[in-house]
Symmetry: C2
Subunit: 162 residues, 2 copies
DNA sequence: ATAGGTGCAAAGCATTTGCCGCGGT
DNA sequence: ACCGCGGCAAATGCTTTGCACCTAT
């Protein structure tokens, strides 16, 4: 069955090849913000006839077509997420690398006002919060071996997203 | 005479070499957000005995010591600005690449509340607005030559900063 | 049929690092 | 004198691309 993103591709008249279909499905299924390497891993698991170069090319194409949005949460690699559900922002857990989405419509308005005050029309914006779990204890990570800098994990946290 | 940043280096007990002194001065004089290439250009103009590797190493050292802050305004290269005057954010003019600084203390509070609502203590954040000059639309006087897409310029705009 | 997509490996970029002589404290 | 610093060029890590073949439309 066609994935949500595959439909978007067809709407935009993109030629649907086997690898694009797979990548589209991987993206449709993703609830997180995977980087190219991770997308490649997931796609290759579904169909080994895919090279990482194609993932790079596809992800770029999708971004140009407004199907995907590129994110930079630090760490040098770009991460992607489907464009959709109205504007939302990200809160990155600095201990685990987990990314939590949230949105605050009221907030958007404030930003537009700030821009206007400076003589600009707000075209887009980027807001990222870096925080630490409010743990009972004052210490980070309850028991986890809190490494000085954990690698970006980004486990989807659908429950916390709002 | 010693530059403002050179003083910070001394305070932190950094060994002050000729090239560090030059880089410190370049940074102290900068009112914009130069990338490494640009810093190298300016430093080399004052003293050719500097290699770009040193600029990279120095800029990194200064960042670790809290003297500089690294920024990413898109375009692949990191840009730097001295740490100082309390938190402020950036509004990037998408037509000229110019960067305008602004701050909004009230806004900061709102962010902390949002984080708290998600169960986190806000450690830091990043807010960037991308906008377009409100011009010709209805007001006379200004007739900016709005090029479709100019390269990142980042001319310091001390007058507009607030 | 044919414009465009794909794999592979090489090229590009920004940034980092090994080696070793040099300079600040 | 000693340890760290700086120059240079090679090495990285992510991303892009040239080329020749392959495939949706």
């Amino acid at each position: 069955m066609e994935s949500r993103i595959e439909l978007l591709c067809v709407e935009r008249g993109l030629k649907m090849t086997g690898q694009r279909r797979v990548i589209a499905r991987v993206l449709s299924d993703a609830g997180d913000h995977p980087d190219v390497e991770e997308l490649y891993r997931r796609a290759a698991a579904m169909d080994p006839r895919i090279s990482i170069a194609t993932v790079y090319r596809t992800v770029r194409l999708f971004e140009e077509r407004g199907i995907l949005e590129r994110r930079d949460f630090g760490g040098g690699r770009a991460r992607y997420e489907p464009t959709e559900h109205g504007h939302h922002h990200h809160l990155i857990d600095i201990d685990s690398g987990r990314v939590i989405e949230f949105s605050d419509p009221e907030h958007e308005r404030v930003l537009a006002v700030i821009a206007a005050r400076l003589g600009f029309d707000l075209v887009s914006h980027r807001l990222e919060l870096f925080g630490r779990r409010q743990d009972s204890a004052g210490r980070p990570a309850s028991h986890a071996t809190s490494e000085p800098s954990a690698p970006p994990v980004d486990t989807a946290s659908p429950g916390l997203t709002r």
